[in-house]
């Protein structure tokens, strides 16, 4: 019963965060130097035309009214029309771009979690020995070297020197051709992987110092079994939270990857929209990416108590 209370509290907090993001994007739209009326009126419109059009579009109403309307439309998936080019509906643009970003980011988070937990466990077990030093160096590099520095470096090595991997994204790539994904996904995963590695290592070190591990050694549990079944299972829980938060870095990274590898994802849609003052698209992109971030973190927080009885107890 208490668990249901905790979960509903978390859902409420997620909804509030979403509301906050929508408010921020709305305010940004209202503050932008261009509004829908200026675009609608065109360049030759007089000031009187502008006032008339603004009134017809309802843009001169007080902002709380417009915010509620914006919220209502957004909840129905209606983000208005793009100002630029063919004036496509914004939700169509999102529908085209989002799956690509979701694919790249999803694969990257899986890769980052796998590599991070693996290396972190290794580092934790061999604390202060050679494997641990290697892991620490690698993860420090992963956290500090920017991904747009890593991108040309890996492209230089794998695409030009070894001539193994393609550099640019092609929309008409054959089904199942995942070579286009290798470089962007790997580079995108680097930073989250490094952060997960550090956290797993620390968590592993903490767990290995606990008494039930000494008990395990005393009663003769095989070392590998002790490390994996006993220690890792306990150490991995804080890591789950980190996977959620590192998704934020993944979103940042996907803006960079879209640019570096010309991927037509949400990131490049946002940048294109910003450079052409296309505010409805910017608002929708930020809202959708923000919602993804909140959703993932909420999911992690809700799943966690089911994995760990200690959290379940503490929430009572």
């Amino acid at each position: 019963m208490k668990l249901a209370h905790a979960i509903s509290l978390r859902l409420l907090f997620g909804a509030l965060s979403l509301l906050f993001i929508s408010l921020v994007t709305f305010v940004a739209g209202a503050m932008a130097p261009y509004d829908a009326a200026t675009i609608e009126a065109g360049e030759k419109a007089t000031a009187a035309d502008l006032v008339r059009i603004r009134h017809e579009m309802g843009l001169d109403r007080p902002w709380p009214v417009r915010y509620v309307e914006y919220l209502e439309n957004a909840a129905h998936g209606d983000f208005g029309h793009s100002y630029a080019g063919q004036k496509k509906p914004v939700n169509q643009i999102i529908a085209e771009r989002l799956p690509i970003t979701a694919e790249v980011a999803g694969l990257a988070i899986i890769l980052a979690a796998g590599v991070g937990i693996g290396l972190g466990t290794l580092g934790g077990i061999y604390r202060n020995k050679a494997p641990d030093r290697a892991v620490l160096t690698l993860s420090t590099l992963g956290v500090t070297v920017p991904n747009f520095v890593l991108a040309p470096l890996l492209v230089y090595i794998f695409a030009y020197k070894l001539n193994q991997l393609p550099v640019t994204w092609k929309m008409d790539r054959p089904q199942g051709d995942f070579y286009y994904l290798v470089l962007p996904v790997t580079i995108l995963a680097a930073r989250p992987a490094a952060m997960i590695t550090r956290l797993t290592r620390q968590s592993m070190i903490d767990t290995l110092q606990q008494e039930f591990i000494r008990m395990g050694i005393a009663k003769g549990v095989p070392r590998f079994r002790l490390n994996v079944r006993h220690a890792l299972r306990n150490a991995i829980l804080p890591v789950a939270t980190a996977i959620g938060t590192s998704f934020g870095f993944l979103l940042t990274g996907s803006f960079v990857m879209d640019r570096a590898f010309t991927i037509p994802g949400i990131g490049s849609a946002t940048i294109e929209a910003i450079t052409s003052n296309d505010m409805p698209v910017v608002q929708a992109c930020v809202l959708v990416t923000g919602a993804m971030f909140i959703g993932i973190n909420m999911l992690v927080d809700i799943v966690l108590p089911f994995l760990d009885p200690r959290i379940r107890e503490s929430q009572v």
Binding site: A28, T144, V145, D258
Partner: protein
């Protein structure tokens, strides 16, 4: 001091940052004077073309070559250092100021100020940093305000972590005996905060801001790299990296490696210095 000298990474970080500061201060001036063609007065080596296209490095007139518009890479690197340091320092000064202020108010102000302030901090904290920065920069991208939207965007995203840090630090200090004693002796809250509590909290906050400045420098170059930060023809390390298109990587190695290297080293150095000072502040933690 001895502890500082014994840490080679910290020493490297301090030396590198000093050199970088000199480079940013003197580099653009020296290079511009050197490259100015005879007879011209308002020539800018950073933004004006010298040649027509990429040129390979030649000692001593163009040690790092020129970029795709024939502009001197070394001069642009120095100007980029100015941008990075300016953005980094201004953003951190604002973030520390605002964060500590909110932290103090969030700890001592009345309930009706404190609670909304802390909840607002939480909400800002939950908002993915770079998204907010992109939204703010994007809103004012067409207004032609130069570096200001970048500073505002990064400043607004940077302060919540300092507010949180200040709140937790104040919570650990405010019930210590010397604070309670001072209060018992009749000290007012403003006196208590400025004389007894902030001196305990600020060193840690400043050390953390060194580490956070690495993040700010990185964010500025990220925004410039994706094309919405510092706008051409003005240079930033980020847009210098993205200017070398991927098809040109093999042909123009120095033009690409120079900004990559200086950016990475700057981030390393700031992290080393921040971590080093943190370790020096807390002898128990610093191994």
């Amino acid at each position: 001091m001895r502890r500082v000298l014994r840490n080679p990474l910290l020493l490297f970080g301090i030396l590198f940052l000093l050199l970088l500061f000199l480079f940013a201060l003197l580099g653009p001036v020296v290079r511009t004077n050197q490259l100015r063609p005879p007879g011209s007065t308002n020539f800018d080596a950073v933004t004006d073309r010298i040649g027509k296209t990429y040129e390979t490095p030649q000692w001593p007139e163009k040690p790092l070559g020129t970029d795709e518009n024939g502009r001197d890479v070394l001069a642009r690197l120095a100007q980029g250092a100015r941008v990075s340091l300016l953005v980094g320092v201004v953003v951190q000064v604002f973030a520390v100021g605002a964060g500590v202020l909110v932290g103090v108010l969030g700890s001592f102000a009345g309930r009706w100020v404190r609670m909304p302030l802390l909840r607002f901090t939480d909400a800002m904290f939950a908002f993915p940093d770079i998204l907010l920065a992109i939204l703010i920069v994007g809103t004012f991208a067409g207004a032609g305000l130069g570096v200001i939207p970048v500073i505002v965007a990064l400043g607004i995203t940077a302060w919540p972590s300092f507010a949180r840090l200040t709140v937790t630090q104040i919570a650990s200090v405010r019930d210590r005996e010397y604070v309670v004693a001072a209060r018992a002796a009749g000290a007012s809250t403003p006196y208590l905060v400025t004389r007894h509590i902030l001196p305990q909290v600020l060193p840690l906050v400043l050390a953390v801001s060194m580490v956070e400045m690495a993040g700010t420098v990185l964010s500025e170059s990220t925004l410039s790299y994706i094309g919405i930060g510092i706008q051409p023809p003005n240079p930033s390390w980020g847009n210098m990296i993205s200017d070398v298109r991927q098809a040109d990587i093999t042909a123009h190695v120095p033009q690409l490696v120079a900004p990559c290297l200086i950016l990475s080293l700057t981030i390393f150095a700031l992290n080393f210095v921040g971590d080093g000072v943190l370790a020096a502040l807390d002898p128990k933690k610093g191994a």
